[in-house]
Symmetry: C2
Subunit: 198 residues, 2 copies
Protein backbone atom coordinates (compact mmCIF):
# COMPACT_ATOMS: atom_id res chain seq x y z
CA UNK A 1 0.00 0.00 0.00
CA UNK A 2 2.89 2.33 0.62
CA UNK A 3 5.01 2.69 -2.47
CA UNK A 4 7.71 5.18 -1.70
CA UNK A 5 10.89 5.63 -3.69
CA UNK A 6 13.94 4.37 -1.81
CA UNK A 7 15.98 6.74 0.29
CA UNK A 8 19.52 7.27 -0.98
CA UNK A 9 22.16 6.93 1.69
CA UNK A 10 25.89 7.60 1.80
CA UNK A 11 28.09 6.24 4.56
CA UNK A 12 31.33 7.74 5.71
CA UNK A 13 34.29 5.61 6.66
CA UNK A 14 33.88 3.82 9.98
CA UNK A 15 35.78 1.21 11.89
CA UNK A 16 35.70 -2.02 9.95
CA UNK A 17 33.20 -3.83 12.09
CA UNK A 18 30.88 -0.87 12.33
CA UNK A 19 31.12 -0.28 8.58
CA UNK A 20 30.21 -3.86 7.78
CA UNK A 21 27.30 -3.76 10.19
CA UNK A 22 26.00 -0.54 8.71
CA UNK A 23 26.28 -1.85 5.16
CA UNK A 24 24.50 -5.09 5.96
CA UNK A 25 21.82 -3.18 7.78
CA UNK A 26 21.15 -0.84 4.90
CA UNK A 27 21.38 -3.56 2.27
CA UNK A 28 18.73 -5.50 4.12
CA UNK A 29 16.32 -2.57 4.04
CA UNK A 30 14.88 -2.43 0.55
CA UNK A 31 13.61 1.08 1.10
CA UNK A 32 17.15 2.32 1.54
CA UNK A 33 19.54 2.62 -1.36
CA UNK A 34 23.24 2.79 -0.70
CA UNK A 35 24.90 5.22 -3.10
CA UNK A 36 28.30 5.50 -1.44
CA UNK A 37 30.02 3.61 1.34
CA UNK A 38 33.25 3.77 3.28
CA UNK A 39 33.79 7.33 2.12
CA UNK A 40 37.05 8.60 3.63
CA UNK A 41 36.61 11.64 5.76
CA UNK A 42 38.48 13.96 3.42
CA UNK A 43 36.30 12.88 0.49
CA UNK A 44 32.98 13.49 2.22
CA UNK A 45 32.28 16.82 0.57
CA UNK A 46 33.11 15.41 -2.85
CA UNK A 47 30.87 12.39 -2.28
CA UNK A 48 27.96 14.55 -1.17
CA UNK A 49 28.43 16.74 -4.21
CA UNK A 50 28.50 13.92 -6.74
CA UNK A 51 25.88 11.62 -5.23
CA UNK A 52 23.65 14.16 -3.49
CA UNK A 53 22.28 11.50 -1.13
CA UNK A 54 19.19 12.21 0.91
CA UNK A 55 20.98 11.01 4.02
CA UNK A 56 24.66 10.90 4.90
CA UNK A 57 25.92 8.99 7.88
CA UNK A 58 28.83 10.85 9.41
CA UNK A 59 31.48 9.40 11.69
CA UNK A 60 31.75 11.70 14.67
CA UNK A 61 35.06 10.17 15.60
CA UNK A 62 36.69 11.19 12.35
CA UNK A 63 35.61 14.81 12.65
CA UNK A 64 38.61 16.99 13.28
CA UNK A 65 36.38 19.73 14.61
CA UNK A 66 32.66 19.70 15.28
CA UNK A 67 32.08 22.67 13.01
CA UNK A 68 32.78 20.53 9.96
CA UNK A 69 29.21 19.36 10.33
CA UNK A 70 28.09 22.97 10.01
CA UNK A 71 30.20 23.39 6.89
CA UNK A 72 28.75 20.25 5.30
CA UNK A 73 25.23 21.31 6.12
CA UNK A 74 25.75 24.77 4.67
CA UNK A 75 27.31 23.34 1.52
CA UNK A 76 24.73 20.56 1.03
CA UNK A 77 21.48 21.63 2.69
CA UNK A 78 19.51 18.98 0.78
CA UNK A 79 21.39 16.14 2.44
CA UNK A 80 20.29 15.21 5.95
CA UNK A 81 23.23 14.50 8.18
CA UNK A 82 23.08 11.62 10.64
CA UNK A 83 25.99 11.71 13.05
CA UNK A 84 27.09 8.46 14.59
CA UNK A 85 29.24 8.84 17.69
CA UNK A 86 30.75 6.33 20.06
CA UNK A 87 29.30 7.81 23.19
CA UNK A 88 28.07 11.33 22.55
CA UNK A 89 27.60 13.60 25.49
CA UNK A 90 24.44 15.68 25.72
CA UNK A 91 26.46 18.75 24.81
CA UNK A 92 28.01 17.12 21.79
CA UNK A 93 24.63 15.97 20.56
CA UNK A 94 23.16 19.43 20.93
CA UNK A 95 26.16 20.96 19.22
CA UNK A 96 25.68 18.56 16.32
CA UNK A 97 22.07 19.62 15.96
CA UNK A 98 22.99 23.26 16.34
CA UNK A 99 25.47 22.77 13.52
CA UNK A 100 22.78 21.38 11.26
CA UNK A 101 22.77 17.64 11.84
CA UNK A 102 19.33 16.08 11.69
CA UNK A 103 20.09 13.13 13.92
CA UNK A 104 22.76 12.21 16.43
CA UNK A 105 23.09 8.60 17.54
CA UNK A 106 25.37 6.59 19.76
CA UNK A 107 27.03 3.57 18.24
CA UNK A 108 25.47 1.59 21.04
CA UNK A 109 22.09 2.35 19.52
CA UNK A 110 20.27 -0.78 18.44
CA UNK A 111 20.62 -1.55 14.76
CA UNK A 112 16.92 -1.28 14.06
CA UNK A 113 16.88 2.12 15.71
CA UNK A 114 19.60 3.32 13.37
CA UNK A 115 17.33 2.39 10.49
CA UNK A 116 14.39 4.13 12.12
CA UNK A 117 16.46 7.24 12.56
CA UNK A 118 17.69 7.18 8.97
CA UNK A 119 14.14 7.05 7.70
CA UNK A 120 12.96 9.82 9.98
CA UNK A 121 15.95 11.97 9.19
CA UNK A 122 15.42 11.51 5.46
CA UNK A 123 12.11 13.28 5.89
CA UNK A 124 13.51 15.99 8.08
CA UNK A 125 12.49 14.78 11.51
CA UNK A 126 15.05 15.28 14.21
CA UNK A 127 16.32 12.41 16.34
CA UNK A 128 18.30 12.92 19.49
CA UNK A 129 19.75 10.49 22.00
CA UNK A 130 18.17 10.06 25.45
CA UNK A 131 18.80 12.54 28.22
CA UNK A 132 19.70 15.41 25.94
CA UNK A 133 16.60 17.49 26.52
CA UNK A 134 15.77 19.30 29.71
CA UNK A 135 13.89 22.47 30.36
CA UNK A 136 16.29 25.27 29.69
CA UNK A 137 18.20 23.83 26.76
CA UNK A 138 15.25 24.62 24.57
CA UNK A 139 15.38 28.37 24.15
CA UNK A 140 12.52 30.43 22.87
CA UNK A 141 10.62 32.99 24.90
CA UNK A 142 7.28 31.54 23.78
CA UNK A 143 7.66 28.53 26.04
CA UNK A 144 5.81 28.47 29.32
CA UNK A 145 8.10 28.61 32.33
CA UNK A 146 7.63 25.98 35.06
CA UNK A 147 5.91 28.52 37.27
CA UNK A 148 3.60 29.63 34.49
CA UNK A 149 2.73 26.01 33.86
CA UNK A 150 1.79 25.67 37.54
CA UNK A 151 -0.51 28.65 37.30
CA UNK A 152 -1.95 27.44 34.02
CA UNK A 153 -2.83 24.11 35.55
CA UNK A 154 -4.71 25.71 38.40
CA UNK A 155 -6.35 28.24 36.12
CA UNK A 156 -7.59 25.43 33.97
CA UNK A 157 -9.40 23.66 36.79
CA UNK A 158 -11.23 26.86 37.60
CA UNK A 159 -9.38 28.15 40.63
CA UNK A 160 -9.55 31.87 41.34
CA UNK A 161 -6.46 34.03 41.53
CA UNK A 162 -6.76 34.15 45.31
CA UNK A 163 -7.02 30.38 45.54
CA UNK A 164 -4.05 29.91 43.25
CA UNK A 165 -2.05 32.36 45.31
CA UNK A 166 -2.90 30.32 48.38
CA UNK A 167 -2.02 27.05 46.70
CA UNK A 168 1.34 28.26 45.49
CA UNK A 169 2.13 30.31 48.59
CA UNK A 170 2.65 33.53 46.67
CA UNK A 171 0.91 36.85 46.38
CA UNK A 172 -2.20 37.38 44.29
CA UNK A 173 -0.24 39.94 42.34
CA UNK A 174 2.27 37.28 41.36
CA UNK A 175 -0.48 34.99 40.20
CA UNK A 176 -1.96 37.75 38.08
CA UNK A 177 1.42 38.41 36.50
CA UNK A 178 1.93 34.75 35.66
CA UNK A 179 -1.61 34.51 34.33
CA UNK A 180 -1.08 37.47 32.03
CA UNK A 181 2.02 35.91 30.53
CA UNK A 182 0.21 32.59 30.12
CA UNK A 183 -2.63 34.34 28.31
CA UNK A 184 -0.26 36.13 25.98
CA UNK A 185 1.83 33.06 25.25
CA UNK A 186 -1.18 30.87 24.57
CA UNK A 187 -3.00 33.57 22.66
CA UNK A 188 -6.10 33.75 24.80
CA UNK A 189 -7.72 36.58 26.68
CA UNK A 190 -9.52 34.96 29.60
CA UNK A 191 -9.31 31.89 31.80
CA UNK A 192 -12.51 30.78 30.17
CA UNK A 193 -10.66 30.45 26.87
CA UNK A 194 -8.24 28.03 28.48
CA UNK A 195 -11.06 25.59 29.14
CA UNK A 196 -12.99 25.98 25.90
CA UNK A 197 -9.93 25.74 23.70
CA UNK A 198 -9.17 22.60 21.66
Amino acid sequence: MNQHPPVSVAIARFEDIVARGLRALIDEDTSLQLVAADVPHECLAEALRSHAPQVAIINFGSLVVASEVRDLNLAFPATRLVVLANRPTAAESRQMLAFGATACLAKSTQARDVLHAIHLASRGLYVMPPATIEYGVLGGPELLTPREADVLELLQIGRSNAEIANDLHVSVETVRTHARRVYRKLGVRTRRDLRSRH
Copy 2:
Protein backbone atom coordinates in the same frame (compact mmCIF):
# COMPACT_ATOMS: atom_id res chain seq x y z
CA MET B 1 18.73 -12.23 14.47
CA ASN B 2 16.79 -9.57 16.28
CA GLN B 3 14.76 -11.09 19.06
CA HIS B 4 13.41 -8.24 21.06
CA PRO B 5 10.34 -8.36 23.25
CA PRO B 6 7.47 -6.37 21.76
CA VAL B 7 6.95 -2.77 22.77
CA SER B 8 3.73 -2.16 24.65
CA VAL B 9 1.73 0.77 23.35
CA ALA B 10 -1.34 2.60 24.57
CA ILE B 11 -3.31 4.91 22.32
CA ALA B 12 -5.43 7.78 23.48
CA ARG B 13 -8.74 8.59 21.87
CA PHE B 14 -8.44 10.15 18.44
CA GLU B 15 -10.76 11.09 15.66
CA ASP B 16 -12.31 7.94 14.28
CA ILE B 17 -10.33 7.79 11.07
CA VAL B 18 -7.05 8.57 12.78
CA ALA B 19 -7.75 6.00 15.47
CA ARG B 20 -8.47 3.28 12.95
CA GLY B 21 -5.33 4.12 11.03
CA LEU B 22 -3.21 4.02 14.15
CA ARG B 23 -4.67 0.72 15.26
CA ALA B 24 -4.14 -0.93 11.91
CA LEU B 25 -0.62 0.43 11.80
CA ILE B 26 0.29 -0.95 15.18
CA ASP B 27 -1.47 -4.26 14.65
CA GLU B 28 0.57 -4.76 11.50
CA ASP B 29 3.82 -4.30 13.37
CA THR B 30 4.50 -7.52 15.22
CA SER B 31 7.09 -5.84 17.41
CA LEU B 32 4.44 -3.53 18.84
CA GLN B 33 1.83 -4.76 21.23
CA LEU B 34 -1.30 -2.74 21.75
CA VAL B 35 -2.33 -2.80 25.40
CA ALA B 36 -4.96 -0.07 25.32
CA ALA B 37 -6.69 1.83 22.55
CA ASP B 38 -9.18 4.65 22.20
CA VAL B 39 -8.53 5.69 25.78
CA PRO B 40 -10.70 8.73 26.56
CA HIS B 41 -8.69 11.70 27.58
CA GLU B 42 -9.97 11.72 31.14
CA CYS B 43 -8.98 8.07 31.59
CA LEU B 44 -5.43 8.46 30.37
CA ALA B 45 -3.82 8.54 33.79
CA GLU B 46 -5.78 5.49 34.87
CA ALA B 47 -4.81 3.61 31.73
CA LEU B 48 -1.13 4.43 32.17
CA ARG B 49 -1.30 3.31 35.78
CA SER B 50 -2.94 -0.04 35.07
CA HIS B 51 -1.17 -0.97 31.85
CA ALA B 52 2.17 0.82 32.35
CA PRO B 53 2.82 0.86 28.60
CA GLN B 54 6.27 1.63 27.32
CA VAL B 55 4.81 4.16 24.92
CA ALA B 56 1.63 6.19 25.07
CA ILE B 57 0.35 8.06 22.06
CA ILE B 58 -1.28 11.27 23.21
CA ASN B 59 -3.79 13.33 21.28
CA PHE B 60 -2.58 16.90 21.38
CA GLY B 61 -6.00 18.12 20.32
CA SER B 62 -7.70 16.65 23.34
CA LEU B 63 -5.29 18.26 25.77
CA VAL B 64 -7.09 20.93 27.68
CA VAL B 65 -3.76 22.47 28.57
CA ALA B 66 -0.27 21.67 27.46
CA SER B 67 0.94 21.09 31.00
CA GLU B 68 -1.06 17.88 31.23
CA VAL B 69 1.82 16.30 29.37
CA ARG B 70 4.15 17.36 32.12
CA ASP B 71 1.85 15.92 34.75
CA LEU B 72 1.62 12.60 32.94
CA ASN B 73 5.37 12.46 32.56
CA LEU B 74 5.94 13.21 36.23
CA ALA B 75 3.37 10.65 37.30
CA PHE B 76 4.55 7.91 34.91
CA PRO B 77 8.18 8.51 34.08
CA ALA B 78 8.58 4.98 32.73
CA THR B 79 6.11 5.61 29.92
CA ARG B 80 7.42 7.49 26.92
CA LEU B 81 4.93 10.01 25.64
CA VAL B 82 4.43 10.47 21.92
CA VAL B 83 2.31 13.49 21.15
CA LEU B 84 0.36 13.50 17.92
CA ALA B 85 -0.83 16.94 16.85
CA ASN B 86 -2.69 18.15 13.81
CA ARG B 87 -0.22 20.79 12.83
CA PRO B 88 2.12 21.55 15.70
CA THR B 89 3.98 24.84 15.64
CA ALA B 90 7.65 24.89 16.45
CA ALA B 91 6.87 26.44 19.82
CA GLU B 92 4.25 23.82 20.62
CA SER B 93 6.60 21.02 19.72
CA ARG B 94 9.35 22.44 21.87
CA GLN B 95 6.88 22.97 24.68
CA MET B 96 5.84 19.34 24.47
CA LEU B 97 9.44 18.22 24.75
CA ALA B 98 10.09 20.68 27.55
CA PHE B 99 7.13 19.14 29.36
CA GLY B 100 8.59 15.67 29.08
CA ALA B 101 7.24 14.27 25.84
CA THR B 102 9.73 12.07 24.01
CA ALA B 103 8.33 12.64 20.54
CA CYS B 104 6.06 15.18 18.89
CA LEU B 105 4.61 14.39 15.49
CA ALA B 106 2.22 16.00 13.07
CA LYS B 107 -0.74 13.94 11.94
CA SER B 108 0.47 14.56 8.43
CA THR B 109 3.52 12.45 9.24
CA GLN B 110 3.78 9.37 7.07
CA ALA B 111 2.44 6.23 8.70
CA ARG B 112 5.75 4.42 8.58
CA ASP B 113 7.41 7.39 10.27
CA VAL B 114 4.95 7.19 13.11
CA LEU B 115 6.08 3.60 13.63
CA HIS B 116 9.71 4.63 13.44
CA ALA B 117 9.11 7.30 16.03
CA ILE B 118 7.27 4.91 18.35
CA HIS B 119 10.18 2.51 18.29
CA LEU B 120 12.75 5.22 18.87
CA ALA B 121 10.69 6.80 21.62
CA SER B 122 10.27 3.45 23.36
CA ARG B 123 14.01 3.43 23.83
CA GLY B 124 14.21 7.01 24.93
CA LEU B 125 15.34 8.71 21.74
CA TYR B 126 13.74 12.05 21.03
CA VAL B 127 11.93 12.75 17.79
CA MET B 128 10.94 16.22 16.69
CA PRO B 129 9.18 17.49 13.60
CA PRO B 130 11.08 19.38 10.89
CA ALA B 131 11.90 23.04 11.26
CA THR B 132 11.72 23.02 15.04
CA ILE B 133 15.43 23.37 15.58
CA GLU B 134 17.29 26.47 14.57
CA TYR B 135 20.58 27.78 15.79
CA GLY B 136 19.82 29.46 19.07
CA VAL B 137 16.81 27.54 20.32
CA LEU B 138 19.17 24.99 21.79
CA GLY B 139 20.48 26.60 24.92
CA GLY B 140 23.13 24.86 26.89
CA PRO B 141 26.45 26.19 28.08
CA GLU B 142 28.43 23.84 25.86
CA LEU B 143 27.57 25.44 22.54
CA LEU B 144 29.94 27.92 20.95
CA THR B 145 29.04 31.51 21.78
CA PRO B 146 29.07 34.19 19.06
CA ARG B 147 32.35 35.60 20.33
CA GLU B 148 33.92 32.17 20.44
CA ALA B 149 32.80 31.61 16.87
CA ASP B 150 34.53 34.87 15.90
CA VAL B 151 37.74 33.69 17.46
CA LEU B 152 37.36 30.24 15.91
CA GLU B 153 37.02 31.77 12.46
CA LEU B 154 40.22 33.76 12.85
CA LEU B 155 42.02 30.83 14.41
CA GLN B 156 41.09 28.69 11.42
CA ILE B 157 42.70 31.09 8.97
CA GLY B 158 45.91 30.99 10.94
CA ARG B 159 45.94 34.31 12.78
CA SER B 160 48.00 34.57 15.96
CA ASN B 161 46.47 35.49 19.29
CA ALA B 162 47.96 38.98 19.04
CA GLU B 163 46.53 39.47 15.55
CA ILE B 164 43.12 38.24 16.65
CA ALA B 165 43.22 40.57 19.63
CA ASN B 166 43.95 43.41 17.28
CA ASP B 167 41.21 42.39 14.84
CA LEU B 168 38.57 42.13 17.55
CA HIS B 169 39.81 45.12 19.57
CA VAL B 170 40.22 43.14 22.76
CA SER B 171 43.09 42.04 24.95
CA VAL B 172 45.29 39.10 24.09
CA GLU B 173 44.21 37.57 27.38
CA THR B 174 40.61 37.67 26.22
CA VAL B 175 41.51 35.94 22.98
CA ARG B 176 43.34 33.25 24.88
CA THR B 177 40.32 32.71 27.09
CA HIS B 178 38.00 32.39 24.11
CA ALA B 179 40.44 30.10 22.37
CA ARG B 180 40.65 27.82 25.39
CA ARG B 181 36.88 27.48 25.53
CA VAL B 182 36.74 26.81 21.79
CA TYR B 183 39.36 24.09 22.13
CA ARG B 184 37.53 22.46 24.97
CA LYS B 185 34.13 22.67 23.34
CA LEU B 186 35.39 21.31 20.04
CA GLY B 187 37.59 18.73 21.67
CA VAL B 188 40.91 19.82 20.22
CA ARG B 189 44.14 20.88 21.84
CA THR B 190 45.81 23.26 19.40
CA ARG B 191 44.94 25.72 16.65
CA ARG B 192 46.70 23.33 14.31
CA ASP B 193 43.92 20.82 14.88
CA LEU B 194 41.45 23.40 13.69
CA ARG B 195 43.26 23.86 10.39
CA SER B 196 44.30 20.30 9.60
CA ARG B 197 41.22 20.15 7.46
CA HIS B 198 41.16 22.55 4.44
